[in-house]
Structures are given as structure tokens and as C-alpha cells.
Symmetry: D2
Subunit: 289 residues, 4 copies
């Protein structure tokens, strides 16, 4: 957290589209003397659904932090049938990272964290292999090894979830974690587990997408970060990007080139999540400015 930055409140809203939404929300904040620092809204005309993100400075705001939610609920959210969420910028999210054997995404996240670019706490890193322990050690973050076999998967997931709750984890980043989470795990963190898949989904779902891409002879490879849902590689997409390949590329050079796209696409998704700029509606994301 940038200490010089003023503390802000952020409300994210979705509701059926109706007249007067923007003026009602902005009016609520401005009547209470709030200085709006960001506002982005969007109406899905096909679904008649409204989305909004508004951020204002708490300094000088007429309502105390704990008064905002009840007041907003009463005055606006209830009459407008809003699904909404209030956050404060000084409330640092607690993020767990799950890894297997590859280091590029983990390093990219930890380098940003260490460089002050990610405004989160990272209390734990969980691996299903030993390999990433030394990276966690480099950054002084506790590493928990929980090897997964067909036999112990249920038990190990219970331990993973206990670690999450013991450490008050807000959201989880799968930094090339090569295990499929159970539905129970996924349901416990709705729209709060971010995965990176190494293809431009929906192309090349499942295992070894670069080998699939090589076999198909594509001229572009890419990566997709998305919220994890019970359908494999089918959750709401947060960010995607690509890189060019040619006939010179083998599956191995694609794996290598793809790493740069994977790590950037994952980190951008994590940054959007931390900044409370994402919203999910019908298996799609709205990404606010």
C-alpha cells in the first residue's frame, strides 16, 4: 500500500438496468461530501443489466466506515435490487499462491510483491511438489508441501482449505498449479480463485496446450487468466494475450515463449482483482477502468 495515497471506499454494483441509477449513486456520495476519484459504469443492453464501480476518498466523508454499508443498502441497493460489494483501499487482501514445479509465474508475482507493486499480504505458498520451496524461502514466505495422489487428494484438500482459513485467505492464485481442484474447494471461493491457462481459451482446453498448438500448426500462442469454476478451463475470463510463433517453433520453444505471456497475463488479472476492478456476471467478467 502506498502510504501517501488517501484511503478510498470502493463500491461495485450490478443490478437490472433502470432509469436514474448513475445519478442516484453519485448523488449519494456527493451529498455525503465524498470526492469521487474513479467512476466506471456499463450497461449490458442485451441482458438489460447495469454494472458500476465507484471509488471515493474517505477523508471528509460524512459517514463513518461502518455506516456506509447500511446507509447504501437502505437508500439505494434495496430499492434498486442491487447485488453489490463495499471495499476499502486500506483493507489489504490476503492472497495464497498454489504452485507445482514451474517458477516463472511465482517469481513474477513475488517480484511485484517485493517491489511494492502488489498491494496484498501473501501469508502462504502451497505446493504439491517440493520444487518451489526455495523460491518461497528466497522471499521469506512460509511454504507448505501437500503432495497429491489419487488416494490422498480429499484429505490433502482438507488440509489446504484449513491452511486457507487459518491464514484468513481472501483469494487464491493458481500459479501453474497442475492439479484440478474439487468442486467443494471451488465452491468455497467463488470468483476468488484465479487460474492461468496456457492457451487462448477456449482453444486447447486441458492438458499440454502447447503440444496441441504445435500439432495444429498455429501461428499464435497465448494465455488466459480466469476465475475457476466447476467446469474445467471454462470460468469467466479476466485477461488474455498472445505471442507469435512460426514453423521454427517446437513444443519446447513454445513452452519457453509462452512463459512470458503466462506470467504477464496472470499478474494483470491479479492486479485487477486486488484493485477491485473485476465483476462476474453470467460466466463473463466486467473489467472496470
Amino acid at each position: 500500500m502506498d502510504k501517501g495515497k488517501p484511503v478510498t471506499a470502493i463500491i461495485r454494483i450490478q443490478c437490472p438496468d433502470q432509469m436514474g441509477l448513475i445519478s442516484r449513486v453519485t448523488d449519494f456520495i456527493q451529498r455525503n461530501n465524498g470526492n469521487i476519484v474513479a467512476l466506471d459504469q456499463y450497461t449490458d443492453k442485451l441482458e438489460s443489466h447495469f454494472f458500476m464501480r465507484i471509488e471515493w476518498e474517505l477523508e471528509g466523508f460524512a459517514l463513518a466506515k461502518d455506516q456506509i454499508a447500511p446507509a447504501f443498502q437502505y437508500a439505494i441497493a434495496t430499492p434498486c435490487q442491487m447485488t453489490w460489494q463495499l471495499d476499502f483501499s486500506d483493507q489489504r487482501l490476503r492472497m495464497a499462491i498454489m504452485v507445482s514445479k514451474m517458477s516463472h509465474c511465482l517469481y513474477d508475482l513475488l517480484a511485484r510483491y517485493h517491489g511494492g507493486e502488489l498491494d496484498v499480504e501473501i501469508p502462504i505458498i502451497i505446493g504439491n511438489h517440493e520444487e518451489m520451496r526455495n523460491v518461497a524461502d528466497q522471499f521469506g514466505i512460509p511454504f507448505h508441501l501437500l503432495k497429491i495422489t489419487k488416494e490422498n487428494k480429499e484429505e490433502q484438500e482438507r488440509l489446504q482449505m484449513k491452511l486457507m482459513s487459518d491464514n484468513q485467505i481472501d483469494f487464491i492464485v493458481l500459479a501453474r498449479y497442475m492439479q484440478i481442484l474439487s468442486n467443494d474447494f471451488i465452491k468455497a471461493y467463488p470468483n476468488r480463485i484465479i487460474n492461468i491457462h496456457h492457451s487462448t481459451l477456449p482453444a486447447f482446453v486441458g492438458a499440454k496446450p502447447y503440444h496441441q498448438a504445435y500439432a495444429r500448426g498455429v501461428k499464435l500462442i497465448g494465455a488466459t487468466s480466469h476465475y475457476v469454476t466447476e467446469d474445467l478451463d471454462a470460468g469467466p475470463i479476466i485477461e488474455q494475450d498472445i505471442i507469435r510463433v512460426t514453423h521454427h517453433d517446437t513444443p519446447e520453444t513454445m513452452v519457453q515463449k509462452g512463459k512470458d505471456v503466462e506470467k504477464i497475463v496472470l499478474s494483470r488479472a491479479v492486479e485487477a482483482h486486488i484493485a477491485r476492478k473485476t465483476l462476474v456476471f453470467q460466466n463473463k467478467t466486467v473489467i472496470f477502468n
Copy 2:
């Protein structure tokens, strides 16, 4: 113009930042029963300057077209010190194209026009060479040849400007027009002349940018569309894009590859201008959603 589309009003605003702007504007429209179809706003915190574009359907709006401007001026624009502009989506802009000898940008504009993608009238094409007459003829648009020499430039510009005013031209597109316009001409069309420069400005200002790029050994070339101001190639940038080059490229292949970027970057700028999504402040553009 898509005949099925409902007619809308569009207001673009800029003014000193102040409390309550968004709710005042949205309230004005909604109290008059306007259905907002697009809203985008932005505050330049460094300059404390506010920008907004709002679009709403005229059907059912409580004010007649000619009542909107005075009402808005009185109720909002004057008290808030706004610079603002009202447009209606059924008021087709009249666009002139100026060309020299190259056809790629001209064709791209005319192909979109003919395909119904550009909601404008194109009453005239003006060339300083004969070459593009046949392209104008293909699309049945009057072509005016006004050759420019050092001696006749002033006189020819007078004729150009007369053509503009006789044809009630709203804005002018320089589709690789290889002449520098005089300050008098430029002043007559402030933020209404769009040029395409074949480099990612501010790199390679002036003549033969691809030859400059080749000499410098760059790995990217690009194009910049901008509003023309009295400073050569220094006006507010609307859009930029690039394409990769390698050591295999010569100035000639760069010219060739660059054409694709030029035409797309120019057409995107023209589309943004037509959709009334651009605003100029301090030699920069705000491009609304």
C-alpha cells in the same frame, strides 16, 4: 446510418473539476425522461479537469431538439463553466478527403463508406495530383484537382477552402495528402482536420519516416492519426499502432508493410471522430468508450 437505430443526442463536456458534475448531468437527462445509452467520464487529476460524454435516446425525451441546448446551457453548462457540444446521431457529418498519389488510405475509407460502416457524407475528394481521380470515379465521388506549386499555393488553398464551404464540409481527412496546409487553413478547421503520419509520433517527424526508421534500425514501424495543428506532426494524437519489422526489411518493404497500419489507424480515428467520441484538451485527446 443504420435506419433501425434510434436517434440519440450526444453531449461532450469539459470543465474544471468540481463536486457533483456527474449527478447533475445524469439528473438533467433522467428528469427529462431520457434513456441513457452510453456514458463515459474521466477526470484529469493532474489538471483538475473533467471530461464527459453522454448519449441518450431522443424518443420520449421531454425536450425538443432545439430546446436541449438552451436548457442545458442555463441549468448546467453556465454554472459549471463547461465547454460543451451537442450533436444528434441523425445529423450526418460531411467529410472531405484530400489525397496525393497513394491509394491505400483512400480505398480503405471508401470501402468502409460503401460498405455502410462510415456514417458520413463524402461530397468531395480533392487531389493535388491526377492519380486518385480514377478511385474517386469508381465510387462516383466528385474529384477536384488542385495542383500545388510554390507560386500558386495560396491561390489553390483559397479554392480548396471555397470547395469546403460550398460543400458544407464538417471535417477533412488527409489520406496521405503530401502537402503542408497553411495556418489559415488549419485555423478554419480546429480539431476538424485528421492526418495520418506514417510513424509512431513523435519519432520520425517530417519527410520520409520509413527511410528514417530504416536508417535507425528500428524493430517496429507504425502510424499515428492526429488532429492537424499549426505545428507540423505535433497535433493531438487520436490513435497509434505498430507492426514489427526485421533486418530483412528495406525502406521499400517498410513502405509496403506500413500501409496496412496507416489505413487502419486512420480509419479508426475517422470512426471515433464520426461517433463524436473525441475531445481535445491541451494538445491531447480524450477518446471516449
Copy 3:
């Protein structure tokens, strides 16, 4: 064709990898006093297969045009088990365009053709709808309407193929031709029919890919040009590119934005084909420099 450019011979080769291939080929040309102007080669290590494209000036070459093929076959191709092809740069390919109702790809091709960028002949445009006749007329190219119904498809394809052979067509470009060609048609033009599909294949095969992309909530859309094979949208990929979309995009705006990518990706593929820079091996392309 650029009249100033010297005439060249181009040989494209593929064969099992073996020692000495490059020096044998270059030696053949240089012993006969050929000035090599381009050489690109590539070895697929996984398949132990060798690919090469070599281009040299005919001026001063010791062998006459009609002597080159037998000499090369005897001295090199037969002993090395090569599949190969000889072309001359002054031998203009004859290209047919097939269209339905959309103009953007057709215009992009014809604008390049008219601007001297595509070194081909375009003797015919075939449409299964009337809409594109006026574009063909603008460029003075004969337009043949062959409407397709379930009942007459076989008969109409016979007429299409007769048109192709009457006009000595070398290759066919499907510029958003919305009909599936029969296997007999496809077999008659192996690796000589170029299609543009409006997605980054293999994502969104089949109909309405932008609607599929919208439903999936992707953040990128794209286009793929490929040689047509009997498997729908599964032929060797020549070129791909993408453009970003956001939650603001609807299927309609995706269709609109996608047009720019489609036309550029198709035209690049056509340019590579005309320059004899493509080679197909095992449902993939090698694209030479």
C-alpha cells in the same frame, strides 16, 4: 509486376533431412552462374524433414528456363528424394475470388490489386449472392452469379469449376464466401484455395464465431487464413492475428472490429502465396522469409 525488377526463378523443396542439402542446392545455382537473391531453409528436427526456398536471377544464368527443371531433377531432386516446385517471377498467377455478401475482404484485395501491390491476374469473381456485383463492376472484373441451394449445389459447383478451368485459374481466394465447398472441388485445388475464418482457429470452428466468442466472454478476437482441406476449418494455417475486445463489445461490434483483422490476415496470406513463400507439410505451413 514491377517492370524494373529482374526476373527470378524460385525453387521450393521438401525432402527427408540429409547431409549436404544446402551446399548441393546452392552449388547447383552458383556453378550455373546464378545470383541468389533470397534463401531460406528450415529443418523440422522432430520429423527429420528439410524445407528450402531459393530464388535467383535468371539474367546470366547458364541454363535456359526450360532446362532448369530437368537439370535440377536429375542432378539433385532425384538423388535427394525431393518434392519440389519451380516457378518464375514473371509468370503471373491467375486468382479467382469467391464472395457472398460482405465487401471488406473483397475491397481489401481489389484495392491492393488496383494499387499494384498484388502481382496477379484476377479474371473472375464468383458470388453466390448478387450483392458484390457492384464492387466487381467498380474494378471492371467479370462477376458471375451462381446461387447455391441444397438442390442445385452439385450443378452449380460444376459451373464454378468450369469457370475456373476456362479462366485458367491457378488459385482461389474465399473472401468470406459463406458456402462449404465439396470434397471434389477441394481436391481439384490442393493447397490452392485460401479461406479466411473469423476466429483464431481452432477456437470457434464453424458458424458465427463472433457470437460464440461473445458467449464465451473472451478478451481477444481474431482471424485465421488457411488452405482449405476436406476437414472444415482444419486446413494448414497460413496466418493469424487478433484484436482486443472488452465487456463493452457486443456480437455486432465484434463483427465490425473483426473485419479489419480478417481483411489484413487474408491479404497477407494471399501475398505469401503469390510470392511463393508457402509450403505445406503434414497439415502445417512453412512460411519462408
Copy 4:
């Protein structure tokens, strides 16, 4: 270094263009029973200059490592007036990194190094500020602090150069090192100092390019990696890339977004240098496949 990979020899060549160069070089290797694993060549037609990179496996090669250079010099390089260089893939380059206060480029390099992606030794990191010591410590690499003032610059550079020679440094990476090196330093490492500049050169040479970019209102920012020469930010460009910005971006968010491009562009340049795929001619680079 991948231990499973066979050891290769790499020759990079430049010389005046002449007949028979490719067959002479490939013939030399193949007569000595060398299995060519990569070949890329290019002729600069405007300058009549020839460039080539050829890589072959040493296993089974008829010449011992120390016989290759004299044999090649005598048989080919001298008669063809070549400037050339021989390298072996098992000869690991020794790379020094120089830094100031920012960590993103340093982390990206060290993460690749630690992940086995960069086949180099990194014996030292030199900083002109204390800040990056802890990053060096995380990776167990000796960190040398040499603060620079106007008064001590000459003396400190002497110490820097002594560190380079004591550690047998082959090439130097300036990972956002915010000091200008003296000409003497630069001359000691011709085409062996790689810098990252945070703009798409030649735009925004010198200090604070993102602030310059903001002031100009560009829609793209980028980064350029180049070999350092005596002219500031004017050396041969190795790699460039860009990222989009909008009117929402401030100099601060540009700095932030730019970091991702800087680190990727720098690391790609370092990888090309390590793979001996770069060649400099007349202040430009040839980047081989």
C-alpha cells in the same frame, strides 16, 4: 546449459557479398562431417553485405575445437574477407548486471537465471545505490555498491572495470542503471553492453521518457533494448515492443505499465545475445533465427 543437449559450434560471419558464400561455408562443415542444426543468412542488398550464422554439432566433426578457427580462417574467411566469430555452446558467457533502484528488470533476469532459462554465469551485480542489494542476496550473487558522484565518477568506473576484469565478464546488462557510462568504459565492451531504454527509440531519448510520452499524449508506450555506444540512446537496437495507453494513464501508471514491457524486451535481448544470434553492422543489428 541443458546437459542433454549436444555441444555445438556457432560461426557468425559478415563480409562483402559475393558468389558462392553459402555453398562454401556449408561445404566446409559438411565435408568435415558436421551436422548443421541451424543456418540463417541474409544479404543486405543496399550495402552489398552478407551475414550468416551457422551452428553444427561437434560430435563426430572431423576437426578438433582448436583446429576449427585456423582451418576456417585459411580456407574461407581470408579469401572472402570475412569478419567472423566462432563460439561453442558449452562455453558459458559471464554476465554482469548493473542496477540502480528499480527491481523489475533485475528480478526478471534472475528469475530466468534461477529457472534455468538463461545459460550464463552471473558472478556480480553492481549497484550505484544500496537498494538492490537484498535482491542480489536473495539469489546469492555478490553485490558491489559503487556510489557515483560527479567527483568520484572516474575513480568508481575504474573500480567497476576492475570488477569486470577480475570476474572475467563477457558482457554487461544495464538493468535500469541510471548512470551514463564514460566513453572509455563503452569502448572496452563494444557490442557487449546491453541497455534497456523505456521508450520506443528514437522517440523520447534521455531522461524521464514516460513523462515526455505523457506530455505528448501518445497512445502507445514502449521499450527498446540496444547495445550501448558513445551516442546516448543511439546504439544498435536489438528488440522493441509496446503497450497501449489511454487518456486515463498518468506518468505514474505509464511507469508501472511500462515495467512489463521493459523487462520482457531486455530479457529477450539478453537471450539473443547469449544464443549468439546478434550481429552488428553500421549501427544496426541482424538478429538471426
